[in-house]
Amino acid sequence: MARNGVASKLWRPETIDGLNLSPSGDHDEVHVLAVDDSLVDRKVIEQLLKISSCKVTTVDSGIRALQFLGLDEEKGSSVDGLDSLKVDLVITDYCMPGMTGYELLKKIKESSTLREIPVVIMSSENIMARIARCLEEGAEEFLVKPVKLSDVKRIREYMATREVGARKHEKGNSFNKRKLCDSCESCDLPLSSPSTSSSPTPSASSSPLCPSSPSPTLSMLSSSVPCSTSSLDSPTRRLKMSNSE
């Protein structure tokens, strides 16, 4: 049920073995990988994302998610030619048989090629310890199910500001961190440097955070150190940010 009739550069079948593939030839659109063992939930999250102008691929397990991301343990890291399947965001259920969403999160964050991809966790249980653990492991956000359009819209806006940041940086423009932070005042999520393509060079771009009052020392730090979000973010700040909603 692909919403857009966009033909991708590489021909890909509609479904492979339990995977539902949507053509994703358009690189400007955010491509989300949704992981959930429940068919009902997959259908709902897929539609939520499509309505919010995202390209969606749904899979039914953490293992399939890793395969799709090119982290097949047998084959090793990044598979060639998967550029058009570049994933901008992973949204996963927590409770799944086999690999849980938390384990998937860990695997993504432990991978040098994938760790910059933001991961959102969904769960029907509103358990503080679980939320804290996920955020500590590097999850961008924790959504309590049932997921609503407002949740997805918020994530979509966060992704849009990330893209703007990446494009500005790529063009070599003077990167006004303060401006970028101002534009995402409404979202409680810290920004991290996006590097979702399979480029081997670690992104030396800055990691502008989104605190309510950006300090000069912060911008000094981020411009000199290629960092992942976890080294600068305090997990409790993320927790506080999420709770402040």
């Binding site: 049920m1 068919l39 009902v40 939930d41 709902v44 539609q47 309505i51 029907s124 199910k145 359009l149």
Partner: protein, 158 residues
């Protein structure tokens, strides 16, 4: 002509929805699903609900099979089925079904077989009621589509 009065159907549909909300059978998540339906996915709600029915009936069969087994002791497995049922019910806005699952799960966690059996009976009843009402709703919506067609018929080459 065929008793398909669009205005009356509109009233019928809203009255049924209002009743289901009032009874707590449905909650705002169902409205959320309706908001996700558009021209490119005109049957989204009925598709999701039909998937939900299919999955639910599998789960109900599994639950009954577990409890009917004289040597039943796998409360953990029952808990897994219930979590799935709870999750999907919450995703489609089936509030009462979900609430019965919660009570069912509590009985299961206490290894209370009699309590589980009672909960299962109630769950089957609630599910049946929901399914019937949903079919009624979809029927009215189909009638509305037909009524719209009758109102604006395509010119024939007679």
């Amino acid at each position: 002509m065929l008793g398909l009065d669009p205005d009356r159907l509109w009233v019928d549909m809203n009255r049924l929805l209002a009743l289901l909300f009032h009874q707590g059978v449905l909650d705002e998540q169902f409205l959320q699903l309706q908001q996700l339906q558009d021209e490119s996915s005109p049957n989204f709600v009925s598709e999701v609900v039909n998937i939900y029915f299919y999955e639910s009936e599998k789960l109900l069969r599994n639950l009954r099979a577990l409890l009917m087994d004289k040597e039943f002791s796998d409360y953990k497995k029952m808990g897994i089925h219930l979590n799935q049922f709870m999750g999907s019910s919450s995703s489609v806005g089936a509030k009462r079904v979900r609430n019965v699952c919660v009570a069912f799960r509590a009985a299961s966690e206490q290894n209370n077989r009699a309590g589980c059996l009672r909960a299962l009976e109630l769950l089957e009843h609630e599910y049946c009621y929901l399914k019937n009402k949903m079919h009624e709703l979809f029927h009215i919506q189909q009638q509305r589509v037909l009524a719209a067609g009758v109102r604006y018929p395509i010119a024939q080459n007679n």
